[in-house]
Amino acid sequence: MLTVTDLTKTYKTGDKALAEVSLTVPKGQVVGLIGPSGAGKSTLIRCINRLVEPTSGKIALSGAELTGLGPRALRRERRRIGMIFQEYALVERLTVMENVLSGRLGYVSFWQSFTRRFPSADIERAYRLLDRVGLMEHADKRADALSGGQRQRVGIARALSQEPELLLVDEPTASLDPKTSRQIMRLLIEICAERGLPAIVNIHDVPLAQQFMQRIIGLRAGRVVFDGPPEQLTESVLTTIYGAEDWTAMRKDGEADRVAEAEAVARLAMISA
């Protein structure tokens, strides 16, 4: 279980990215984090494993406090938190296997990792995960030889090889096509369900969030403005999250597109007639 209490992040420039954010994610729950660009979604999940240092507030993962830890203790806690990134963030020039095994770095000595001599249990787990995400035959390929969807699967396998207690997922589908996006989301949800793994998923795409998430948190300008099941995500709630002007502008754009499309169809019909 993850508990975030009054988390605040103010950047050096004075920008307040997060203001007293509090939330609790119980075991096995997959939470979608939605909000406009700059609302602090990315900062929030990066504060949890302290890739970004929070200004104040508390973060606790199943009882263990994460804020205020020294570098060594922080590294030990980071092993329990798997992270999946927007543009996969695989080490492009390493093999798929090395990327998956890099999830074990926190558990092995420098020398073991330098010589790539991982314990047999780690290797077996890595193969099992590659098999789970359907990339068994690509284990020895270099990461940059894979397609976008395949790379994100490697990213998922890397995070899972940590045997995490929490998954942080930052825009997992932002650079994927709609079909691959759905496949990746489905895979993520299945894996979380199999392992009872809680996850926080930053997501741009509202319909995708509604389709896959059990719970949705809306962030606006660093504050939680919505927290509830996807069914409660009505138009007025979306307006609170994304702002009235932007929302109607988007809808207007949509209408303009529909009108243009209808005209184009009519014109085509005239030409073919």
């Binding site: 963030a89 695989l90 020039r93 770095l105």
Partner: protein
């Protein structure tokens, strides 16, 4: 309907005037420099130049190919000097590069300026000058040449390497950090793989340059082909000079080919 202007100028009148004035200054400077340059020239020597060149050219030709066997050992020395010097340079430059790169330096306030100073100091002194100094300190011979090449290479390799380190993709580093890896493991898994192609490219490129440089270091007593060149020049043995120059040319072409092959293989 609003009226839109029909003219558009790339530069404002002010900028045009400044540009014109800049060119004027450049031309004036050129005229002035030309006068300084030619005021102490003895024109008789210049008019004489084609004849002199033809004279030396005729003495240089044909090259004395029977001199070749004698050049093989100095050539081997030159190659060794370049290779060992490059290795020395790499060994010293890599730590300096990591200290100089903004994203890997342990202390931006003290160590980074020191590393940058080492890089600048090494680059600002030509390897011929390094060799002159070292021959005076260590005595003539290959060792002075190797160290001279090594010291000059630090700056070149260090500068290009630290730029490569600074250009690494932060997201890959972030991802490895997020797994709970130690700083040494992050270096090994996220930074080193990203800079490997740059590392080999830079090293081979520098080796290629060092072969050319080590060929002349003998002029100041650091051994290799340059020593033979100096001896031949001193005795006005022009056909031998031609032979040496041909050997240098052939070596450089071969090293260029090798470095091109290596670079295309790693990218």
């Amino acid at each position: 309907m609003t009226e839109f202007p029909q003219t558009w100028a790339f530069r404002t009148p002010r900028a045009r005037l400044a540009l014109w004035f800049g060119w004027l200054c450049l031309v004036a400077l050129f005229v002035y420099c030309w006068q300084v340059m030619t005021s102490t020239t003895i024109w008789m020597f210049i008019w004489d130049a084609p004849r002199q060149a033809a004279d030396i050219g005729s003495r240089m030709f044909p090259p004395r190919l029977s001199y070749l066997p004698e050049l093989m050992i100095p050539l081997w020395d030159t190659l060794n000097m370049a290779t060992l010097g490059t290795m020395l340079g790499v060994i010293l430059a890599v730590p300096v590069a990591f200290l100089a790169a903004r994203n890997t330096t342990p202390s931006a306030l003290i160590l980074r300026p020191v590393a940058l100073f080492i890089i600048v100091a090494s680059r600002s002194i030509n390897s011929l000058i390094w060799a002159l100094l070292l021959v005076a300190i260590l005595g003539p011979g290959l060792l002075a040449g190797i160290i001279a090449i090594g010291l000059r290479s630090i700056g070149f390799i260090g500068k290009l390497m630290y730029e490569a380190i600074e250009e690494t993709d932060i997201r890959q580093i972030e991802a490895v950090t997020a797994t709970g890896a130690s700083p040494a493991q992050v270096l090994n898994y996220a930074i080193v793989p990203q800079i490997m192609p740059a590392f080999w490219g830079i090293t081979v490129f520098r080796w290629d340059i060092n072969i050319r440089e080590s060929a002349i270091l003998g002029l100041v007593g650091a051994g290799g082909l340059g020593l033979k060149l100096q001896a031949s020049l001193n005795t006005l043995a022009w056909p031998q000079v031609t032979t040496i120059l041909l050997v240098i040319l052939a070596t450089v072409i071969v090293s260029e080919w090798v470095s091109a092959r290596v670079r295309s293989a790693i990218i």
